[in-house]
């Protein structure tokens, strides 16, 4: 059985054509084994977790907690908080760590390359607490201005940076960013939503203080993600949301909290989702992610070159280490029209601002067409995609 056969949706036709799914930076597809894991949970073991004695509750708790164990193993992390996704994970840092540790006079370094999910929580914190935000600009080579970064670091308390841009596919020089930030006394949060699907990261060796990502971008279900935290920083975090099992005791005078990850997981957790994600993480170990990554970036780089040859503006550099994301615009064909014409032939791409308006503003555009590739995409699909674009350009430009 080929890898593609494991994904039921890839057998689907769209508008009378085989689906060519190139919207992977938005969300990835799920292999049957992940769908089955959630199915089995709901059909066999569904129960609420923690503090219960009966057999189903035991199975459900074990299933839920095995996701945490798996995350800690795969990423070599000591603390893994389960959230509803990257966005909640970053908001959690802003509330649980930010509000407890930052105040007027402190500053946070962001970059113009950030996704809204790594901008808006900080703008809210800044407004509430009078914290200053500094934005590192993006150069015309689609990379961070590292001189400006060094400059911005002066006296900063926290650096928040995207591992890999969801618009450009560019992977940032994280090793150097983390090293410089720590040397300057700043904590580092990595938005790894686009990084983790393409690389197996050793969180402890990597050295960042926080790392956020989502299951749905790595073959897992919707509604779940994680925040990895280094143990010393974990101790500096105050509770965020209250309720359910995050407490040790509750009295009408006040409450005391758990000391492990449960402290940040208020309410009935995402049980089925955790079980699905565990299956996805297990499944991802059945192939060589770094070889796949190499294959995909080669495809992306070929697509980028082909589109340039067809007269497109392409945003990104598509070097080794970057993600297989190709953002482009035709000089005259409107991007929404382009996406509809592609959809008519079964190609799924995304248009719009990709939740990265400051980056697009810097690039002087308001949106792109974005094709993003993942492990089940083939060279043949990429070729079909380029020919379809060629035909569209010939006919509609």
């Amino acid at each position: 059985m080929s890898l593609r056969d494991e994904f039921p949706i890839l057998q689907r036709q769209v508008n009378g054509h085989p689906l060519v799914y190139l919207d992977n930076a938005a969300t990835t597809q799920k292999p049957q084994i992940v769908i089955d894991a959630m199915n089995d949970y709901y059909s066999q073991s569904n129960a609420n977790v923690h503090r219960a004695v009966h057999t189903l509750a035991g199975e459900a708790t074990e299933g839920y907690e095995s996701c945490r164990i798996k995350l800690k193993q795969r990423f070599n992390a000591q603390r893994a908080i389960i959230t509803s996704g990257t966005t909640e994970a970053i908001n959690l840092v802003a509330h649980a760590w930010g509000r407890a540790n930052l105040s007027k006079g402190d500053s946070i370094v962001l970059t113009e390359m950030e996704h809204h999910s790594d901008i808006v929580p900080w703008q809210m914190l800044a407004e509430e607490r009078g914290v200053e935000i500094r934005y590192v600009p993006v150069t015309q080579h689609f990379t961070l201005d590292m001189e400006a970064f060094t400059h911005a670091l002066d006296g900063a308390a926290l650096v928040c940076v995207v591992h890999t841009s969801n618009v450009l596919g560019v992977r940032n020089p994280l090793e150097s960013i983390i090293e410089q930030s720590h040397a300057a006394g700043a904590k580092v949060l990595i938005d790894a939503a686009q990084g983790v699907p393409h690389a197996q990261i050793d969180f402890t060796a990597f050295g960042a203080d926080f790392m956020a990502f989502s299951a749905h971008k790595m073959c897992g279900p919707t509604g779940i993600g994680a925040l990895l935290v280094q143990p010393d920083v974990f101790e500096q975090m105050e509770p965020f949301m209250g309720g359910g099992d995050m407490i040790e005791t509750v009295t009408i005078e006040g409450s005391t909290y758990q000391t492990n990850e449960h402290k940040f997981e208020a309410g009935t957790p995402r049980i089925a989702e955790a079980i699905g994600w565990t299956a996805a993480l297990d499944w991802m170990e059945t192939f060589d992610i770094s070889a796949e990554h190499d294959r995909l970036i080669k495809i992306a780089s070929w697509v980028a070159k082909s589109l340039r040859d067809l007269g497109m503006n392409v945003y990104g550099r598509h070097e080794d280490g970057d993600a297989a994301v190709v953002s482009f615009l035709h000089p005259t064909i409107n991007s929404e029209d382009m996406a509809h014409l592609l959809d008519a032939r079964g190609f799924a791409v995304r248009t719009g601002h990709h939740c990265a308006q400051p980056l697009l503003h810097r690039l002087g555009i308001s949106g792109t067409v974005r094709a993003s590739f993942y492990i089940y995409n083939t060279r043949e699909e990429a070729e079909a995609f380029v020919s379809e674009i060629k035909e569209i350009v010939e006919r509609f430009a």
Binding site: G16, N334, E336, L341, D343, A344, R345, G367
Partner: protein, 138 residues
């Protein structure tokens, strides 16, 4: 409720076509029917909210007849505007207000289009009808 003749014909034409690409091409051609809103008038008053890209519309009523001016970035949206132009331009306001909003669904366009696009279309339709209503009251 019945559709104006031009619209009824269009609905039939679209219904006869299965292929999305063909329907898009038909829609693109209808962009030519648009009476262009000058770009000086692309402002917040004329903007249609909920569209992915820029879309602007304005209604004026002269001698009891609707004039429908519109403009958009995407040819697809221009095509939708073209349909609306064929449907209401030159019509008496009271008559235009009778047009049911479901026609885009009947044309199979809300299947072709995505919900966000359909919402955009629905917002455009509602904005146009509101302005027509106001013009008859004012």
């Amino acid at each position: 409720m019945t559709y104006p003749v031009a619209l009824a014909e269009l609905i039939e034409e679209f219904q006869a076509v299965d292929d999305k690409r063909e329907r898009l091409e038909m829609l693109f051609e209808l962009a030519d029917e648009v009476v262009e809103l000058p770009s000086e008038e692309w402002n917040d008053d004329t903007r249609v909210r909920g569209c992915q890209s820029e879309a602007h519309v304005r209604i004026q009523v002269a001698e009891g007849r609707i004039e429908f001016l519109s403009a958009a970035d995407a040819r697809l949206v221009q095509g939708l505007m073209g349909i609306l132009t064929l449907a209401i331009d030159g019509m008496a306001p009271a008559q235009a207000l009778l047009i049911p909003p479901q026609f885009a669904e009947e044309m199979g366009l809300l299947n072709t289009l995505t919900p966000s696009r359909s919402n955009g279309f629905r917002n455009m339709f509602d904005k146009v009808m509101n302005e027509i209503r106001q013009s008859t009251e004012g």
